[in-house]
Assembly symmetry: C2
Homo-oligomer: 207 residues x 2
């Protein structure tokens, strides 16, 4: 499933200001692009509404140059607040996956979702609430069929300042491990998602 041809895959990271959503988007985007030969656009929106504390970053990933960076039919929605979840779950495409922060999204608006208590994990297992976004990165890396754990972690190490590198690698590994333990086989999760059922295609570089 890894390094497959991707027509277009849309991810939205959403939550509250202060949760490190924009940094998460940047690190995820650079990891998927630089490590995997995909084209990625990462869009963040600022505006009067951002003052209310909402934060959001959209990623579009493709094997081809991306001419339309707007995400409007999400393959993966990561919602780290109830408000973000309520606002964006309607943008999930059929077969898309909803990943929530289970302590912050108390009332998921749909029945099908997966989740972890990311904030609690950051506090209790890492001892640093700010590492929450990196735990999410680890979990997302497990879930994304085209993301390679080794490559994503290496990119994370490269973009972070030295003094916070070790603790973030620990957080990344924790997120990956917890996702593996709790979510089962990602291929099963994505089976309904048409984007992902395509075959491996090692020739995408030459398209």
């Amino acid at each position: 499933m890894k390094n497959q041809y991707l027509d277009r895959f849309e991810i939205r990271l959403s939550g509250l200001g202060g949760q490190g959503i924009l940094t998460l988007g940047k690190v995820m985007g650079s990891g998927l692009a630089l490590g995997h030969s995909y084209f990625v656009t990462q869009t963040q929106s600022y505006g009067p509404e951002a003052r209310g504390g909402a934060s959001r970053s959209d990623l579009v990933v493709s094997s081809n140059v991306i001419s339309y960076p707007k995400a409007e039919s999400l393959d993966l929605l990561i919602a780290l607040s109830q408000e973000a979840c309520n606002m964006y779950y309607r943008n999930l495409k059929s077969g898309g996956l909803l990943l929530i922060e289970t302590d912050l999204v108390k009332q998921p608006p749909v029945n099908q979702f997966i989740g972890l208590p990311f904030t609690k994990l950051a506090k209790e297992k890492i001892g640093l609430v700010q590492a929450m976004n990196t735990i999410v990165l680890g979990a997302a890396t497990y879930l994304l069929p085209f993301a390679q754990q080794r490559v994503m972690r290496k990119n994370l190490e490269e973009v972070l300042p030295a003094k916070i590198r070790d603790i973030n690698v620990k957080a990344f590994n924790l997120g990956y491990r917890e996702a593996k333990k709790n979510f089962g086989d990602p291929e099963e999760l994505w089976r309904a998602n048409a984007v992902i059922v395509e075959e491996d295609n090692d020739d995408y570089d030459s398209i």
Copy 2:
């Protein structure tokens, strides 16, 4: 001219990796949004081509929610490398403004442009080549009819780590000052640009 109604204004920041283009986009975007009540999307593209050293960030600024974040008819193109200038000047709209790094864009592909030796200014006047992007921010703030110097500088101070704050404020002020000295009245520069000839409209909040 300040705080006017903006239908849509597109800015592209482009140059080489290592010039701080993505940080510039982020700081400019948050300054225009949080300080001025505009909606802003900031899109950065990663991909196989990024390995070649190109870097780019697009901003779309509007008084309204932005439903189409792709920049394709630029009001302002900032080109900090010859390659970026060659690649993107065709995306300038009629009446759009081209701002270049005069030591790095030796052969501007068009006759109408403005420029400063940003890198040399950073080295010689600030003593830190990495402050180049903040000098560009200062110059752009002078040029943009809807950007307020005080607000942009305040936002810059807020988003930067304490230890590099003072030197960046100095760089910002230098860029603003050099632009004022060399470019003349920005209203004259933008006169051909239809977006900017609209009247002040203090009612945009209620639209």
